[in-house]
């Protein structure tokens, strides 16, 4: 996918003016956010689990080479095949080769953000394969020719009417006067259509929420059951997963799974958590005849050795974006690449470059909500701040911002001059604002004042108020201490 992250500002402006998008996003606070809070409150151990989960992931990363080797050995022992891919292109090539050598024509897919990252669908389609997304949200996006705007709720930017229109346009073979007013009716229609695809697919491709070194299993966590139909009906099951997905044991996965659904959708557990190990056994009557895992690096090994290693703890729950005021305002597409929200701002510059994605680190108020909910306790604001610094060091920060920063810094280096200047400014602003006590327009700040008034300072600076208060407090203590 062609990134447009460098255009974040204009993407955001478009998003803010999009009424349907705003309506779709308005459900977040009472939806996923409230549900997570309720699930956390039902489990008193939640905060302790976050510490334990963070430690597991740190341990995995510290021993990643060894767990990957063990994982590979166990997959092979179970009769599966592991393919290592350094880049997106390597992964796509490997998957296409597997499909072609099986004579495949039709591929069904479970939801996988990594497959978005490597642009898998386009690659397979270009080679003449039919590729069908089976997660309902992903299916809707596929027929709209759009990308996911959220990592666990891919179609969260759409309202129901849009889906109805898409289905009427896409499913011309169905009666024109059919009822499609309830979500259930839309879900049912997709169910009928996709059933046929599940049954005729030659290959099923899924992602993985975790890979288990102990047993060589891959895990998918879903609610719809589409991932299970995708991987159980066709002859071939291919798993695409990044190398950072490996965890040591089933017990470790259990601890992380307790956090995942609760952080993501606020469910205690999703309807389906599925562990796949190798192809079907000799006497199994169903399941795939062959099982392949693509282990993708695509920049992770570099991240591992960098100051951004902590983002690799991410378990892709989506909580950081659900709680982000910027994401809530503009949605996921404005971020311009696969991973939106705070995790995208922390991860994307490493995957597609600071020049392209550095702007995302600026799309934050640093309110800290993302870090406060991240089950893996990833210090997202700290990482974003670091990307800002790198962007500045590289000279990629916009010129106006650089000048403004330089001007501010040159004064701030002289505290007494800074205080004098700011108290002058504050007084001037107060006088300038007059009786209104606020500005309706200010030079260089019309972006702010277009939407609201800027209240004027009340005449004294913070330092002045502070000094006065300190003085008053000392007087008071002196007074009480005097007998």
């Amino acid at each position: 996918m062609q990134p447009t992250s460098h255009d974040f500002k204009s993407n955001a402006r478009t998003a803010l003016a999009d009424h349907q998008l705003q309506q779709a996003l308005s459900g977040l606070p009472t939806g996923l956010v409230a549900q997570r809070a309720a699930a956390r409150d039902r489990l008193p151990e939640f905060e302790a689990l976050r510490d334990y989960g963070r430690d597991i992931r740190n341990h995995c990363l510290d021993h990643l080479d060894l767990y990957l080797e063990r994982y590979e050995a166990q997959v092979t022992a179970a009769g599966g095949h592991v393919h290592w891919a350094e880049t997106a292109e390597d992964a796509c090539t490997a998957i296409l080769k597997i499909c072609e050598s099986a004579g495949a024509k039709m591929v069904t897919k479970g939801k996988s953000m990594v497959s978005e990252e490597i642009g898998l669908n386009a690659h397979l389609q270009a080679a003449g394969l039919e590729v069908v997304e089976t997660d309902l949200g992903e299916y809707i996006l596929q027929i709209r020719d759009e990308t996911p705007s959220h990592i666990i709720a891919p179609a969260i930017h759409l309202v129901q009417d849009q889906v109805e229109n898409d289905f009427r346009r896409q499913h011309q073979q169905l009666p024109k006067d059919r009822r499609l007013e309830e979500p259930a009716e839309l879900v049912d229609e997709a169910r009928q259509i996709l059933r046929q695809k599940f049954l005729s697919a030659d290959v099923g491709i899924t992602g993985a929420n975790f890979l288990i070194a102990e047993t060589g299993s891959s895990i998918i966590v879903t609610n719809e059951g589409n991932g299970d139909l995708t991987q159980s009906l066709p002859k071939l099951h291919i798993v695409i997963a990044a190398i950072d997905k490996v965890v040591p044991t089933l017990n470790d996965a259990s601890a992380l799974l307790r956090l995942l659904a609760r952080s993501a959708t606020g469910q205690e557990f999703t309807s389906y958590t599925t562990f796949s190990t190798g192809p079907r056994r000799a006497d199994d009557p169903d399941g795939p005849e062959a099982y392949h895992v693509i282990l993708l690096d695509n920049g992770r090994s570099e991240l591992l050795g960098s100051e951004f290693r902590e983002v690799l703890r991410c378990i892709r729950c989506g909580a950081c974006m659900n709680h982000c005021p910027v994401y809530n305002a503009v949605g996921g597409h404005a971020y311009g690449w696969v991973y939106p929200g705070p995790i995208g701002a922390a991860l994307n510059p490493a995957l597609i470059g600071v020049k392209e994605a550095g702007a995302l680190a600026n799309a934050s108020t640093f309110c800290g909500r993302c870090e406060s909910v991240c089950p893996m306790r990833i210090p997202l604001p700290k990482l974003m701040r670091r990307w800002r610094e790198i962007e500045f060091e590289n000279g990629d920060t916009p010129l106006l911002t650089r000048w403004a920063l330089r001007g501010w810094a040159s004064v701030a280096l002289w505290p007494s001059a800074y205080h004098r200047l700011s108290s002058l400014m504050v007084r001037a602003l107060r006088l300038g604002a007059g009786k209104r006590g606020a500005f309706t327009w200010l030079p260089l700040a019309s972006g702010w004042t277009a939407g609201r008034d800027l209240p004027a300072p009340q005449g004294r600076t913070f330092q002045q108020l502070w000094a006065e208060r300190q003085k008053a407090a000392t007087k008071k203590t002196d007074a009480t201490e005097t007998p």
Partner: protein
Amino acid sequence: MSRASILGKVRSALNATTDDTERQATVAARLRDLPRVTPPQRVAAPNTDLVACFVGELERQLATVKEVGDPSEIPPAIAEYLRAQNQPLGLRHGSDPRLADLDFSAVPNFEVKTGPALPDDSCGLSYAFAGVAETGTMALLSGPENPVTLGFLPDTHIIIVPRDRILATYEDAFSLLSKEKGAGAMPRTLNLISGPSRTADIGGRIVIGAHGPRRLLALVTAQL
């Protein structure tokens, strides 16, 4: 080639070498000891009623749960459920002998088939390996006894869960699996099922019956 290169990059990122015995020992110890996090109080507190917890949690997730005393009560309970749901009287199950022993002959016109699911099957019946009380979860093992497709193709999925195999945690279920099938042994597919198929992909509203079963019945029984 890619393998050596990726592992090499990972090692150099970690400043590790291939002959680092200390790191190897740490990893071997974790894989041997299988450390566990402290289990949630909701199942770990003394005198917890695991069956009640299992039932309560599973019902919260929109499954139907019914407790039956004797295995002979299972066929009428299934027939009653299917009738109440307006479903055809019939089902398919795998070669699990405990399921083959169920006698549906008292239910008129009840059709029992065996084998993996076919597209037109209306109901699949599985036997759970274990239940997990903490979230009302059932562990199912794929194989000829309980083919995996039975839980996903039919509109109705019914799972029998023996009362005395309802354990506290996921870790307990995994350790039972190791004990009974051999250390670290896994079937092709291990399903942890905690409710019927659902989606919230259209306008964030929950709809039951996305791609998998539209309804899920768990029958908690004495051991068959």
